[in-house]
């Protein structure tokens, strides 16, 4: 009787489990019975020099991997789980897919290489920083054999491996400023361009959009390209500037962005005397100001500074030009 109760409880539990269908299994007829044998061979990933893969990688840095598995052997298995494969032969080269996977963003990147590599090698660039990333390889290879009825049968032998890997962020934040002067506004912000460039330094395009970037306050949209992304992002007055008049009052909103995790407490902005090195703050940082109420320096710049949680720093200077 006690055993019966246990069985009933177990069945109820199983039913509950089956009933909770996650979204990715909707419409999938599971579980379905199968009598087919599924040959699976172990695999292990190494660096191409044979050493173990490190626990962490550097964002965008290509790494040359090799996977070791009997699926690359000359002969296929002759049996699996006690099921014999008579006269088994490989029927084709291995089909190999390498991925960098980022569970944080639920994205995956299929690796490909223009270099001529061995079947079991691939160069993978983990292009997103993550603490939970993974390098994965999936291999299938067609085998032909004769089954117990002496019928020619095709079956894929499979092998796969995933290694959890942290990917360290090396891309500085790409924060910007939204500036409001009376009825005029403007936003200036950088974007990494080209993306995923390695080795550093990384480059950015700085986008100017709005009427505050024009002496006549007409609408503007222009891009300053080739700016080194990081702490030396200085825009020259000939490339773009914020045009101010003596009666103007400025207010700011920050445009916050990082490719991984921004340290929001680190973000600051304001008016600086010059654009060399660290900001020389004029007036009060992190607040708007009236032009008439600040001691305007000879080389005024707006600045925005930000750090991400990995310590990458962005410091960008935007020239200020006073007009009549």
């Amino acid at each position: 009787m006690k055993q019966l109760v246990i069985v009933v409880i177990a069945l109820c539990f199983a039913t509950v489990n089956l009933g909770a269908t996650p979204s990715w299994l909707e419409g999938v007829p599971v579980p379905w019975p199968t009598s087919e044998v599924k040959p699976i061979l172990p695999a292990e990933i190494y660096l191409v020099d044979g050493s173990d893969i490190p626990e962490s990688f550097v964002e965008d840095k290509p790494v040359h991997f090799v996977v070791v598995s009997d699926i690359f052997a000359d002969e296929p298995p002759s049996e699996f789980d006690g099921v014999p494969f008579h006269n088994s032969t490989w029927a084709g080269r291995p089909l190999v897919f390498w991925y960098f996977t980022n569970p944080d963003t639920e994205t995956r990147f299929l690796a490909s290489s223009t270099e001529s590599l061995a079947d079991n090698e691939m160069i993978v660039a983990p292009i997103e920083p993550t603490k939970n990333g993974a390098i994965e390889v999936f291999i299938s290879r067609r085998m032909e054999y004769y089954n117990e009825n002496n019928e020619l049968t095709r079956r894929f032998v499979n092998s796969s491996k995933g290694r959890v890997a942290e990917v360290k962020d090396i891309t500085p934040p790409t924060c910007g400023l939204q500036i409001t002067i009376g009825d005029n506004t403007g936003t200036v912000w950088p974007i990494e361009s080209p993306v995923n460039m390695y080795p550093p330094p990384k480059l950015a395009d700085v986008i100017f959009e709005g009427s505050v970037f024009c002496p006549e306050n007409s609408s503007q949209h222009f891009v300053v390209d080739g700016i080194q992304l990081g702490e030396e992002m200085v825009i020259s007055p000939s490339q773009g500037a914020v045009y101010l008049r003596a009666e103007d009052e400025l207010s700011f909103m920050m445009v916050l962005h990082d490719n991984y995790e921004l340290d929001k407490d680190s973000v600051s902005f304001g008016l600086s005397d010059g654009a060399e090195g660290e900001p020389s703050v004029v007036g009060t940082a992190n607040s708007g100001f009236k032009v008439a109420e600040v001691d305007m320096p000879e080389e005024p710049y707006l600045f925005i500074e930000a750090f991400d949680t990995a310590g990458n720093r962005q410091l960008m200077y935007i020239p200020v030009v006073l007009v009549e």
Binding site: G92, S140, R154, V164
Partner: protein, 456 residues
């Protein structure tokens, strides 16, 4: 004796007190990080009720039932489908479960939890002589169900690469401890393992499209003309195919195709660049609409040139009762409007070429001599001119250079009722048996006036 009791007491004490302590701090590591993947195309009850030819679903998409194992001699383990039909592929692995219990059993660990949703991708590759070519790489749908359609016949491999991260305590408590994540009241350190599963399916998309056939006609009076010239021009014209939206559309230089198949096609008015048409006449029978579902396979026939009275394009639907060998046959029997008009006593050449979507070939179709015509009639590939009165076949003059010529006119038919009907019969069959048959009336006219006044 007392010493022995003391030792025994010590051992018992160790068993009683120490073993639970050891159990409570048992370290654990997964014994594997690979799990099986189940994968199939079709197979649901609803799909099993579909005809092999497929049927439109509520959204109008044509879906079919997977073809039987061993279809067209394929080995066991091959999934057989038709080109130009939609099928659903399904996959399942325990790493896709809501609860990690089954995975824990496989890995031999406990106290784990999944980190996020699983990742799953469905790369589709096509096998060609150079190896594997990835047709589709990332889809990013992250679904265990995939809609698959195969636009061209061929050997494909559909793979599913699934993975999921599992977090687990490196040290687990004994069964006696209530909180498994705590040992001796402290939170245990956790490890991560990436559990993977992969499976691939051999998918053969079977050809169900009849071949295309192009016919060229050239009178001997054309400067530089010859049978070889005609065949060369015909092959060049077939190679000069255009691509629309990535798909090769044969005969596009000949026709204007409307976006809406219901509006059909019409002969292209401008044929600049197609030298063959400038010097001769052409008739092309080709798949239209392109890549239609198997049940709707049809061909369009377009005619152009001075040997045709009008430029015309017409559609012919494939037969509907050719279910035995699951191939498609399109029979196009043309009417007088698309008849070939040749001049009495003027030799002309006929060239025929065929191409098929299952392999890249543009090859000539042979012309059959009188004694071989039975082969065409019985299913062979080639062409010949047939006559309603078989005795009249001997009246067709065959030149040493491969030309044809008629001595007596038979058009207008009411004026030459005693003369036989002539028809050009053409047949092309691909490697698996899909075929296209053309029958075109041939009229021999008395004077040039009949066609020189035509619109071509």
């Amino acid at each position: 004796m007392r010493y022995l009791f003391a030792r025994l007491f010590l051992i018992v004490a160790m068993v009683v007190f120490c073993v639970p302590v050891i159990d409570a701090q048992q370290e654990q590591q997964p014994r594997t990080d690979q799990l099986p993947m189940e994968m199939q195309i079709g197979g649901t009850d609803a799909e099993s009720d579909l005809p092999y030819w497929g049927a439109p679903d509520e959204s109008g998409r044509w879906r079919g039932q997977v073809l039987p194992s061993g279809f067209r001699g394929m080995p066991n383990g091959t999934t057989n489908v038709f080109e130009n039909l939609e099928y659903f592929a399904y996959e399942y692995s325990e790493i896709f479960d809501q609860d990690p219990g089954n995975v824990e059993d496989e890995l031999g660990i406990e106290g784990s939890n999944f980190v996020g949703a699983p990742q799953m991708d469905w790369p589709l590759t096509e096998e060609n002589p150079d190896g594997w070519e990835i047709i589709e790489g990332e889809e990013g749908q992250n679904l265990a169900r995939r809609s698959s359609d195969f636009n061209d016949p061929g050997n494909y491999v559909l793979t599913n690469a699934g993975s999921r991260q599992l977090s687990f305590p490196l040290v687990v408590a004994s069964d006696d401890d209530e909180d498994e994540d705590e040992v001796d009241g402290e939170e245990t350190e956790r490890g991560s393992v990436r559990v993977t599963a992969v499976e691939s399916l051999d998918v053969v998309a079977h050809d169900v499209t009849p071949p295309d056939v192009w016919l060229g006609f050239l009178e001997e009076s054309v400067a530089g003309g010859s049978s070889d010239f005609l065949n060369r021009e015909l092959r060049r014209a077939m190679r000069n195919q255009s691509q629309v939206a990535g798909h090769i559309v044969p005969a596009l230089p000949l026709v204007d195709i409307y976006g809406d198949p219901a509006q059909g096609i019409r002969p292209r008015e401008s044929t600049a660049g197609l030298e063959l048409i400038q010097k001769g006449s052409i008739m092309a029978a080709f798949e239209y609409p392109h890549q239609a579902p198997p049940a709707l396979k049809s061909a369009a026939v377009v005619t152009h040139g001075p040997l045709f009275e009008v430029a015309k394009a017409e559609q012919f639907r494939s037969d509907e009762d050719c279910q035995v060998d699951l191939t498609r046959k399109v029979s196009a029997s043309l009417d007088n409007e698309q008849a070939i008009f040749v001049r009495r006593n003027v030799p002309f050449w006929i060239g025929a070429a065929t191409s098929d979507n299952s392999f890249s070939r543009h090859e000539e179709l042979p012309v059959f001599d009188l004694e071989e015509t039975a082969d065409v009639l019985n299913g062979g590939d080639g062409f010949f001119i047939d006559a309603s009165d078989r005795n009249a076949l001997e009246r067709i003059v065959r030149g040493d250079d491969g030309s044809f010529m008629f001595r007596l006119p038979n058009y207008p038919r009411e004026d030459f009722a005693d003369q036989p009907d002539y028809r050009l019969v053409v047949r092309s069959t691909d490697q698996v048996g899909n075929s296209l048959e053309l029958e075109v009336p041939v009229y021999v006219v008395q004077t040039r006036a009949y066609y020189e006044g035509g619109r071509n």
